[in-house]
């Protein structure tokens, strides 16, 4: 049963990018870009409706030969893990394009839309690829447009931020490339079949050292992207200097590529090492949670504050992922969506106020509640969702994560709770300074409230926050089977190792032997 939905979903934005370049004036450019971002949104919603919630495997699969000499295929598929991230991507992309058309991007609109739409192709492609080579291609592809978005349309020290962003992420991902190549090589030696397909690589027999290094190769690439403490330093710069739409996509979707990479590739490919690394990753996650919150607390710049809050929130996601139990992982995936919605929303709101005041310094504001109540009201809902107030989406995710983490390493929950409290503290404190009190600066007295375009952009996010806060079931039931399948892979690997620890050594020896054999057959010296 072949369908072309996923191909269409992935490449229509690219087509749109080319189409946008043909537009002559800004008005038609923004219209064309918005229209082309609606198509993938519509497709992803349609696929969401058609998605079979009981199936754990990939759906809507497409597969063709691409570079047969290398066993590389064009292989797309969608499962419960990627489904909602895809919807989130298409939604945030549409919203940020609509928002940017309202004056946030003052120059070279055509190129802006061009890069945004290419970025969408990169993001969707990475989420839908099952072939590791394809995944890498899209993974790298999304760096370039984001680099231009930050470097051209950013603020302040934008070139530095863009440079730092691209060098950090490239340095990370290049190790993944080596790891991919080596893993495929090992699989080829063992099975005699050359393939970059993810399912073909699950059962490669690895020695402990091999598995450790390969896992490290993948983990570095993903951890830079997440970003995990201590390699998070590119994030505050990139987020702060990026244009609003760039920050939204960066925080909303691109950071999730890192956590998604862990769920999709690093953990299921190297389950035993993932189990071993659990304490390390949970510790780093907890440090990230606390550190991000503490640093956010002292930021004078609203956008930088949100950037550091991302470090903290992504720490929660990593905590849930490496709990390696159903609640934790499901909570982590749920929290990825939450963070996309709430932080995306926060960045949009900061963009809106920046457009009016050309500053993001918290000290420059105060008393906005009286002057622009719609803005303040929406800001409050989004902020509360980010804090994790019960009844809003953030609560469900954090709750599940802590449940999962408690079952694995109970102590981490203590720190996670501290992180939540700190999170509420810095968010509410910032909110108080911006919104309440008397109006101290005269310019703030003349601010105009949100216009219809801006309200329209925020409404879908607020609806989602409420919906996901009250009724998470339809989402969790679709995530669950795929997560269970992934975790059962981890459990079987663990069980296999425990049962036959001496056999493993034997298998490793055989693997080593066959490697040597292969080498000698190709180059007798």
């Amino acid at each position: 049963m072949e369908s072309y939905w996923l191909t269409g979903l992935t490449f229509l934005p690219l087509l749109g990018a080319l189409f946008v370049m043909l537009q002559s004036d800004d008005r038609s450019t923004w219209r064309a870009a918005a229209a082309f971002s609606f198509i993938p949104l519509a497709i992803s919603l349609y696929l969401l409706a058609r998605f079979d919630p009981h199936q754990a495997g990939y759906q809507f699969i497409e597969r063709y030969q691409w570079i047969p000499q290398f066993g590389i295929s064009y292989h797309l598929g969608m499962d419960g893990i990627s489904l909602f991230l895809v919807v989130l991507t298409t939604l945030l992309m549409s919203l940020s394009l609509i928002y940017s058309g309202g004056g946030d991007i003052g120059f070279r609109a055509r190129e802006f839309c061009f890069f945004m739409l290419i970025l969408e192709t990169g993001l969707l492609g990475a989420l839908l690829s099952i072939d590791l080579f394809m995944f890498y291609v899209f993974w790298e592809l999304m760096l370039i447009p984001m680099y231009f978005l930050i470097g051209i349309w950013g603020h302040g020290n934008k070139v530095y931020a863009a440079f730092k962003f691209i060098l950090f992420t490239m340095l990370g991902s290049i190790f993944m490339l080596v790891a991919i190549l080596y893993l495929v090589h090992l699989a080829h030696v063992q099975s005699g079949r050359l393939s970059f397909d993810l399912p073909d690589l699950y059962d490669v027999r690895l020695t402990a050292a091999q598995a450790k290094w390969l896992f490290a190769g993948f983990a570095i690439a993903f951890a830079v992207k997440v970003p995990m403490w201590p390699i998070h330093t590119w994030l505050p710069d990139a987020h702060t200097e990026a244009p609003t739409a760039g920050s939204v996509i960066l925080a909303g979707v691109m950071l999730k590529m890192g956590t998604y990479g862990f769920v999709r590739f690093a953990i299921p490919l190297f389950p035993l090492i993932a189990i071993q690394a659990t304490p390390l990753f949970m510790a780093l996650a907890v440090i990230g949670i606390i550190y991000g919150a503490l640093v956010a607390m002292v930021q004078p710049d609203l956008k930088r504050l949100i950037a550091y809050s991302s470090v903290s929130h992504l720490g929660f996601v990593m905590l849930g992922l490496f709990a390696l139990d159903p609640q934790g992982v499901e909570g982590a995936i749920y929290q990825m969506l939450n963070h996309g919605i709430s932080t995306g929303g926060l960045f949009l709101l900061v963009g809106m106020i920046y457009l009016r005041r050309h500053t993001r310094e918290i000290a420059e504001f105060g008393g906005l509640w009286h002057r622009i109540p719609i803005f303040a009201g929406i800001f409050m809902v989004v902020m509360l969702s980010s804090i994790g107030l019960p009844g809003l989406n953030g609560f469900i995710g954090e709750f599940l994560i802590m449940l999962g983490a408690y079952l694995t390493i109970p102590l981490t929950v203590v720190f996670a709770v501290i992180g939540i409290i700190l999170g509420a503290l810095y968010m509410l404190y910032a909110y108080e300074r911006v919104m309440f009190g008397p109006i101290t600066k005269a310019v703030n007295d003349t601010l105009s409230d949100l216009n219809w375009r801006e309200i329209g952009v925020m409404i879908p996010l607020i609806v989602l926050m409420l919906f996901m806060g009250f009724y998470p079931k339809p989402i969790l039931t679709r995530i669950e089977p795929s997560v269970d399948a992934m975790l059962s892979r981890v459990r079987t690997a663990q069980a296999r190792q425990e049962n036959t620890s001496h056999n493993t050594a034997l298998a490793a020896a055989t693997a080593l032997h066959s490697t040597n054999q292969w080498h000698s057959s190709i180059s007798p010296q």
Partner: protein
């Protein structure tokens, strides 16, 4: 007296037909050039293109054929044909870039195009050579043409410096090469590549005379491909030479030199790879690292591209160090993608150059995207491909070479190589930063009046994308070409290919 065997003669002429066509073309251009004024040389460029396309068609017809001519001095196989085709394509692009460039700088066109063709002949000769003397002849024919071309801007001091430097160091490399050939002849009593590889199977394998001969040969080639520590001439020569000649040096000379380098070492000396593989390992690591680190601090784009060319030679040497048919195929594919990408980058440099104001500093690229979005766009494409960003040709090439090297267990070399890729991203992206994120810079002379340059840019850009996005035919072709070179080698070596 033996009877004349007509069939054998016609057969032995066939393999050298592409060579003959290029040689005759060069003479035709010289003769016709007498009647063409220097400032009306466009027609001469067009004539050169026509003649090259004729040679190209003929070479295309040789694809899939193999055989030897002149008692093994010339051997034709897909390996040779692959290189001949790539060289002809590259030269055609260089000619396209030169058509408007030559009259603008007052270059005497007849000699220019003729030398270009003679040099091409040398490269093709190196690709088809079956013995060391022919390789030497090709090596010299190629080099002497380029020495003169590098100094073609007589009144330009830098151009003269480039020529002198290139000539003196080139003469050194020739000396090394020739001495190496002499030692190998002394050790084995033959100059035939096939016979040498057969000798390696015997007791001669560890003969010190032979091994030092190989070492000297390696140095000679390392000079020509600009591998560290024999790279010192490169930046000055690249910077001073007229830009189309620089492109020709960066791509054509490299293709010719690597053709012979690969054929001698990876094909005929394959059995002795234990002796040279580790040397190339070291040279590759040094070349990549030094090339990339030096490129970081360049302010002149031609010098930057020179160091980048050094670094790329390093990536290719990674493949050579890996030794083996897969690595060979990878190198051929890499060279194909590298040729188009690099030629494209130099074409952009030419577009920005003007008489008087050189326009080859990186700061001249500031704000190019605002003034000439298309030019900046293709330059971005070429730079990203040189960086190795998927899905462009440069990425696939690196991917192919690195995976071949990993398969041979060279994990550390690959890690050095990928780290180098990241370093290279820094200086390539700096040019992109200048083009897109800064203001000022130089104004290129109007592009509308330079259709040939636009054609060259378009071809290079399309090829860069196509070779990367749909690599199948080229990868298969490259691998097939490389393995075909084993056809003439001893049966033991042929077994390796399978």
């Amino acid at each position: 007296m033996a009877q004349l065997n007509l069939a054998a003669i016609s057969y032995s002429w066939l393999p050298i037909c592409p060579l003959a066509i290029v040689a005759v073309s060069a003479m035709i251009v010289l003769l016709v050039g007498v009647h063409v004024r220097d400032d009306e040389s466009e027609s001469l460029g067009a004539l050169t293109l026509v003649l090259l396309s004729f040679a190209f068609m003929f070479t295309l017809g040789l694809l899939g054929r193999s055989g030897i001519a002149f008692a093994g001095a010339i051997s034709i196989d897909n390996f040779a044909t692959f290189f001949e085709l790539t060289i002809l394509l590259s030269v055609a692009l260089v000619v396209l870039m030169s058509i408007e460039y030559a009259p603008a700088l007052g270059i005497s066109a007849a000699e220019y195009y003729a030398l270009l063709l003679f040099s091409t002949l040398g490269m093709m000769l190196m690709a088809t050579a079956g013995d060391l003397i022919v390789i030497f002849v090709g090596f010299e024919l190629m080099s002497i043409g380029v020495y003169v071309l590098a100094g073609f801007l007589r009144r330009n001091v830098k151009s003269s410096e480039a020529a002198i430097k290139y000539f003196i160091l080139g003469a050194f490399s020739t000396g090394f090469l020739l001495y190496g050939i002499a030692l190998i002849y002394g050790a084995t009593g033959t100059i035939k590549l096939a016979a040498i590889s057969a000798a390696l199977a015997g007791p001669l394998a560890t003969n010190p005379l032979l091994l030092s001969g190989l070492g000297l040969l390696l140095i000679g080639f390392a000079f020509k491909v600009a591998a560290v520590p024999f790279h010192m001439w490169t930046p000055d020569a690249y910077e001073g030479a007229p830009t189309p000649v620089t492109a020709f040096m960066a791509v054509g000379v490299k293709l010719g030199a690597f053709a012979a380098f690969l054929r001698i070492f990876m094909v005929h000396l394959n059995l002795a790879s234990a002796h040279w593989s580790w040397v190339l390992w070291v040279i590759a690591a040094l070349t990549m690292t030094l090339g990339n680190l030096s490129a970081l601090v360049q302010t002149n784009i031609k010098r930057m591209l020179a160091y980048s060319a050094i670094a790329h030679a390093g990536y290719i040497l990674v493949g050579m160090a890996a030794a083996g048919p897969q690595a060979g195929g990878a190198i051929l594919y890499y060279l194909l993608g590298y040729a188009f990408t690099n030629l494209g980058a130099f074409a952009v440099v030419i577009a920005l150059e003007r008489r008087g104001t050189a326009g080859d500093r990186i700061s001249d690229y500031r704000g190019l995207a605002a003034r000439h979005p298309a030019l900046a766009g293709v330059m971005t494409l070429f730079l990203l491909s040189l960086t190795g960003v998927p899905p462009l040709a440069g990425f696939l090439g690196k991917f192919y070479i690195f995976s071949a090297a990993l398969n041979m267990g060279m994990i550390w070399l690959v890690i050095i190589a990928v780290l180098n890729s990241v370093v290279s991203a820094y200086y390539y992206i700096r040019v992109i930063v200048a083009m897109y994120m800064q203001e000022g810079g130089a104004e290129p002379s109007p592009l509308d009046s330079r259709p040939a340059l636009i054609a060259a840019l378009t071809v290079a850009a399309i090829a860069t994308v196509l070779i990367g996005l749909y690599p199948n035919p080229y990868m298969a072709g490259a691998l097939h070409a490389f393995t075909s070179a084993f056809g003439a080698v001893s049966p033991t070596a042929a077994l390796l290919v399978r």
